[in-house]
């Protein structure tokens, strides 16, 4: 074997270093290049499609670009969130800039060593950077993670369409949601939970503003008219003269959404204890048996009609073909419509039927405390088919059909007893209320 000459060895070393250098540069290049891309929000294409179908108009590419600009100007980016300036409205108590900074951006520490990127660390893999419920794991979960952009929250102390209180959101973060993939974040310190709540509100307000502006453009702005050679009215035009009028109008739409969040605390439903527990009274066993029977009568009766959806055995099989309000926006029951939505890309998931809760399991998504169940029955569950069973006060001399405060409490008692009630001897249901099996 011939030994390599000194020159050849030198050449080989040079070649080796050259190849290595190319390897390093080639590998480092794409890594550095890609990671330098800032995180971005997804546009709500499904809602644009939904409103296009509703209004039979087109949301043009220019309008989409306008929408992106306006939203970025109002709310910034996932790495650099902005709190929109809305004049007199106390935006900071809903979304505080310092707290948003704490929760936003890539995971890491800031210059003072405080944790940053809490949302991406704990939430984004399911709920998505945009808060659209479209994180990488979302498609594999059932139920799908919540899309905040509708501004609808299910488990809260406030009525339908009202926003949840700070305490409501905190409860979900601390307790998690049993029977779903939503875990408890009890281990996080209070200030981090607080920052996340502000950030979730920020994402929700941003998402709801986006929807509001899409609707505004399609309903209020002049459409293009080719016959009359009229161009469509821009949603926002940096080059136009009277921008300040439009800016004021846009701020008004966002302001209306922030106001709803500001009003939430005052809208919480205060729940008084049932009359039989008034003044520290204790419930006797006999009375409890009576109450459970009363609750069961209501459950199967014609006034509360719980049996209609929760089923003859309360296992949640009474109504299994309905959808929640998020899924309904994809028009799953309109022939041909769903394909149009699903074609929009990977952030639109095939809708699933909403299942009434199986009350035999003892899993209560919004919390297992009696008051939690009271709120679910009294206010209904926002965004779902679960209706509100508002109390009707029985007035003297006038027979009103409805339930009283105590009736709702009796239902709460009965619902909480269901996991322990024998299922093998179903309660006889009166004929009008029997579910037909076909």
């Amino acid at each position: 074997m011939e030994l390599p000459t000194r020159k050849a060895m030198k050449l080989s070393v040079i070649r080796h270093w050259f190849v290595s250098a190319v390897a390093v540069v080639a590998l480092a290049g794409p890594m550095a290049g890609c990671s330098r891309n800032e995180a971005t929000f997804n546009r709500n294409e499904a809602y644009v499609k939904n409103q296009e179908r509703l209004t039979k108009e087109t949301f043009s590419a220019e309008r989409k670009a306008d929408l992106d600009e306006v939203l970025s100007g109002l709310f910034g980016t996932p790495d650099r969130p902005i709190v929109p300036a809305l004049g007199d409205i106390d935006v900071a108590s809903v979304m505080d800039a310092t707290k948003l900074h704490f929760a936003a951006g890539p995971v890491g520490r800031d210059e003072r060593g405080r944790a940053r990127g809490l949302y991406r660390e704990h939430c984004a893999h399911c709920h998505g950077v945009t808060g659209d419920g479209g994180g990488p794991t979302a498609l594999f979960l059932n139920p799908y993670p919540r899309d905040y952009r509708r501004g609808t929250f299910k488990f809260k102390s406030t009525p339908r369409q009202s926003k949840p209180t700070h305490e409501d959101l905190k409860r979900i973060l601390i307790e998690g949601i049993p029977d779903t993939a939503m875990p408890s974040f009890r281990a996080l310190p209070d200030n981090e939970i607080d920052a996340l709540i502000h950030y979730v509100r920020y994402l929700s307000i941003r998402g709801e503003s986006e929807r509001s502006l899409v609707q505004y453009a399609l309903f209020e702005l002049e459409p293009a008219d080719e016959e009359a050679n009229i161009e469509e009215e821009r949603l926002f035009d940096l080059t136009s003269g009277n921008r300040s009028d439009r800016a004021a109008e846009l701020r008004e739409y966002v302001g209306a959404i922030v106001q709803k969040w500001l009003g939430a605390e005052a809208e919480a439903t205060a729940v008084a204890p049932p009359s039989w527990l008034a003044n520290g009274a204790e419930l006797s066993h006999e009375r409890e048996v009576e109450l459970l029977k009363h609750g069961r009568d209501l459950f199967y009766g014609k006034v509360a009609a719980c049996v209609k959806c929760h089923g003859d055995s309360a296992i949640g099989d009474g109504q299994t073909t309905d959808y929640d309000d998020w899924a309904k926006e994809l028009e799953p029951t309109v022939p041909g419509a769903l394909d149009e939505y699903l074609a929009l890309g990977r952030f639109v998931f095939p809708p699933r039927n909403v299942r009434p809760r199986n009350l035999r399991m003892g899993h209560y998504r919004g919390g297992r405390k009696p008051v939690d169940i009271y709120w679910r029955i009294f206010n209904g569950i926002d965004g779902t088919p679960m209706p509100a069973l508002s109390e009707v006060l029985k007035q003297e001399g006038e027979e009103k059909i409805g339930v009283t405060h105590d009736d709702i409490w009796a239902l709460v008692y009965y619902v909480r007893s269901l996991p322990y009630e024998s299922i093998s001897q179903p309660v006889a249901v009166e004929a009008a209320y029997q579910r037909e099996r076909q």
């Binding site: 390897a23 794409p30 290049g33 971005t40 008219d225 004021a248 006034v303 009609a305 069973l389």
Partner: protein, 304 residues
């Protein structure tokens, strides 16, 4: 040698990666550069301190007019879809299996066409609201269901009114009002034979009706319009409608809507002349005591 091969392989991989490049910005992701964000932000924030735009002085109405007319169909309306009624059949089958989207009455009249004033009308100004509407303001509107059919396919009310959601069936219903504009959303449990649960919309919009449904009986659907002003009508069985005491002397915008085509934008014939309404809207200024008669003929193709 091994390290050399490794290097070569990494170099090749790296080059391949470089060629593939970074993931492309897909259309659904929005990317706006920092300078634009800054400019837009400044524009949006400009004038925040000043208290809104100056009030534009509106022309005051000079009297009252009547808007009346009739919607008729030319041609044959498409057949309505059939409903599957599979719950509470003893009560619900009596409601029929026709999904009454398009209802054609005597004389080819088109029922359930909604016509309303979509201009901004000051709701508390007696110059704009005729005194005959003061009784209407406090009147209750009824929204009833019988045999699992909403008795008003197109419900309409004025924002300050209260609507009683009734149930004339011997089975329980729930009435889900899904408002996305102005008015409140509700989802009431409406007990069997309930004399009514009060719906207070607390807001209104000119953007058209929203859907009403029953989650227990999913085939039950209707539409509900909460108007900002009392100037609205839904056509009767024969397609006729009348709105009385509409402000005169000012130009008002009207909108025409039907469940199937939504806002009427296809060509229709109004009093004999072909007309195209942009998003179902037209403008009209009446003089005091005038009667505007609209005889609208719509081609069956509008409902396809």
């Amino acid at each position: 040698m091994t390290s050399k091969r490794t290097c070569c392989v990494s170099a090749l991989c790296g080059l391949a990666l470089m060629l593939c490049g970074c993931p492309r910005q897909t259309a659904e992701r929005l990317s706006v550069d920092a300078d634009t964000i800054d400019t837009v932000r400044k524009v949006l924030e400009a004038g925040v301190a000043s208290s809104g735009a100056a009030e534009v002085a509106l022309a005051e109405p000079t009297g009252w007019a009547t808007v009346t007319g009739k919607f008729t169909l030319s041609g044959t309306a498409p057949a309505n879809p059939t409903l599957t009624i599979d719950k509470d059949t003893a009560v619900c089958r009596a409601g029929g299996t026709e999904n009454r989207v398009v209802v054609i009455g005597p004389g080819n009249g088109i029922q359930n066409v909604l016509i309303y004033v979509s201009s901004k009308v000051p709701n508390d100004n007696p110059a704009w609201i005729h005194e005959s509407y003061e009784k209407v303001r406090t009147a209750e509107v009824t929204f009833d269901q019988k045999n699992c059919v909403f008795l008003s396919r197109v419900g309409v009310m004025w924002a300050p009114q209260t609507m009683m959601v009734k149930n004339s069936d011997s089975v329980g219903h729930n009435t889900k009002l899904d408002s996305t504009f102005g008015a409140k959303s509700e989802n009431f449990t409406v007990p069997a034979n309930s004399p009514g649960i009060a719906y207070l919309p607390g807001g209104a919009s000119t953007r058209g009706p929203f859907p009403v449904s029953c989650s227990i009986h999913p085939w039950m659907i209707a539409s509900m319009m909460v108007c900002e002003n009392p100037y609205f009508a839904v056509t009767a069985e024969d397609g006729s409608f009348t709105i009385e005491n509409v402000p005169a002397g000012v130009e008002l915008e009207f909108r025409v809507w039907h469940e199937k085509p939504s806002f009427i934008r296809d060509e229709v014939s109004v009093n004999g002349s072909p007309t195209k309404w942009k998003r179902g809207a037209f403008k009209h200024k009446s003089e005091d005591g005038d009667t505007l008669t609209l005889n609208v003929v719509m081609d069956a193709a509008v409902f396809n």
